[in-house]
Symmetry: C2
Subunit: 284 residues, 2 copies
């Protein structure tokens, strides 16, 4: 993402805990800062991309954090996937120092980040979104303004809920076919073409059949997103029985040590419950 | 379907319990028979299209049923959606009288039946399938041979499992957005385009947003198919936790008197759990 900003002609000051990564970015043309606070002092817009809600809160609002080095009129864009309510909280703290904050989580994976083709879902004040659009356009292809602070994060969580639901649907449909001894390639081509079709069925089910569990999107990141989705639903007093079940089934995948595998590994939890692997052949 | 057979040049003898329907088909060129047995006496191939497993068993193997009027070398094609194991049982009974049996359930709905564009998933002996192909081609567009007796039905049930999983996924994703006060049209357009995309999201979610619960595919038929899927899974000792949950949630839709509505009505069960309708507006 730093490379894409440099390529688009932006001056970039960067801070990160892993020195080799920072060194690489400096060779590419970025300037290194000693802390988030220093990064803010050197910049008009600061972008954060971090694992989870507490990390973003610490880096933006903590000691030597971005707000300590910020001036009124600056903008912070958080592109991590975090809790919508934490995003709103940070936005309020930033506003109290005259700093604008956008939540702008992405989808599209490492590939989208490298190629600058991410989808970016943005929450915050619309005029701030419009001011930052040239920066976002250097990083992504589909950029959508979703509404006030937190709405970018909420959109991302809705997306993740639908994604995992479609993965479980594919798993259960395939499992019945496998256990009954169907020709799985034929089954997949029949169901993919019609009303059962989905991006997940087309993209992950072939990997399930080939026992290819390399990520794609890692189980541990999916679980973080589902934790955030279920926490957001809890705050809203919203029951999500399917998502909750899927979160538990992914926990079984984690219990089997597959945290770093791709989300298609959900099939292994179903296989374990059935004591039947998809490639066991005919009815057992 | 009778009309499409007549249009393709087949002579059709028809039997049905609703006289006005039979009269209409007779005006279109079909010949009326007095019982399934008489239909069989007048035909080389008999097609059944009935609500459920017991109906097919009765009409094929019962008193005055098809097998009573059948000659060795005849073929029965059942295009109903029924239990794979009942299909196998009927196939064996038919075989003991020298009669071939294909299970050939369809998808594509009333529209596909009228227009002759059904998808047909076929189980049974391959040479019988090949002999009957011209008949099936008069009724459907995508015709796939899936394997031995019962495999057509199993394929259909796998398809239905994936369909309902994708519907629940759409419902839960939309509910989070609705409860959080997102712009729902925007949300739908964002999530439909990416990794969360599915046929169900594109086709049923807009109806959910418009409160349009007209079928499409009726809740009561979906529930029948899920009952068959869960029974098939039970015979195979296969746990299907997601499908099972969805079957229960559709039961809540039935409890609300929406048996004859379309499957997009699943959203009403989620709305009831949350005490929040999707069009209630902002966060409540």
């Amino acid at each position: 993402m730093v490379r894409n900003l440099l390529k688009a002609g932006f001056k970039v000051t960067t801070y990160g805990r892993r020195k080799p990564v920072v060194d690489e970015l400096v060779s590419a043309g970025a300037v290194a800062a000693g802390s988030p606070s220093e990064t803010a002092q050197a910049s008009d817009v600061v972008i954060t991309m971090l694992p989870d809600s507490p990390d973003v809160k610490e880096v933006v609002t903590g000691e030597n954090g971005i707000l300590q080095g910020a001036r009124p009129g600056m903008t912070v864009i958080d592109m991590s996937t975090i809790s919508p309510s934490v995003a709103r909280e940070i936005a309020e703290l930033a506003a109290s120092k005259g700093v604008d904050f956008l939540d702008a989580p992405v989808s599209g994976g490492e590939k989208g980040a490298v190629e600058g083709t991410l989808s970016i879902m943005v929450g915050g004040r619309q005029e701030v979104y419009e001011k930052c659009l040239p920066i976002l356009q250097a990083l992504g292809k589909t950029i959508i303004y979703m509404g006030e602070s937190g709405m970018g994060q909420t959109t991302k969580l809705c997306n993740q809920i639908i994604c995992v639901g479609n993965i479980l649907a594919a798993c259960e449909g395939l499992m019945l076919g496998a256990k009954a001894g169907l020709d799985m390639e034929k089954l997949l081509s029949v169901v993919s073409a019609g009303a059962a079709g989905s991006w997940m069925l087309s993209n992950l089910a072939p990997k399930m059949l080939q026992r290819d569990f390399e990520p794609g999107f890692k189980v541990k990141l999916q679980q973080k997103d589902l934790r955030l989705a279920l926490a957001a639903a809890e705050e809203l007093k919203l029951p999500l029985p399917g998502t909750s079940l899927i979160h538990q089934l992914f926990r079984a995948v984690q219990a089997a040590g597959m945290d770093e595998k791709g989300t298609q590994a959900l099939i292994t939890a179903l296989e374990k419950l059935a004591e039947h692997k998809m490639d066991d052949g005919e009815t057992s």
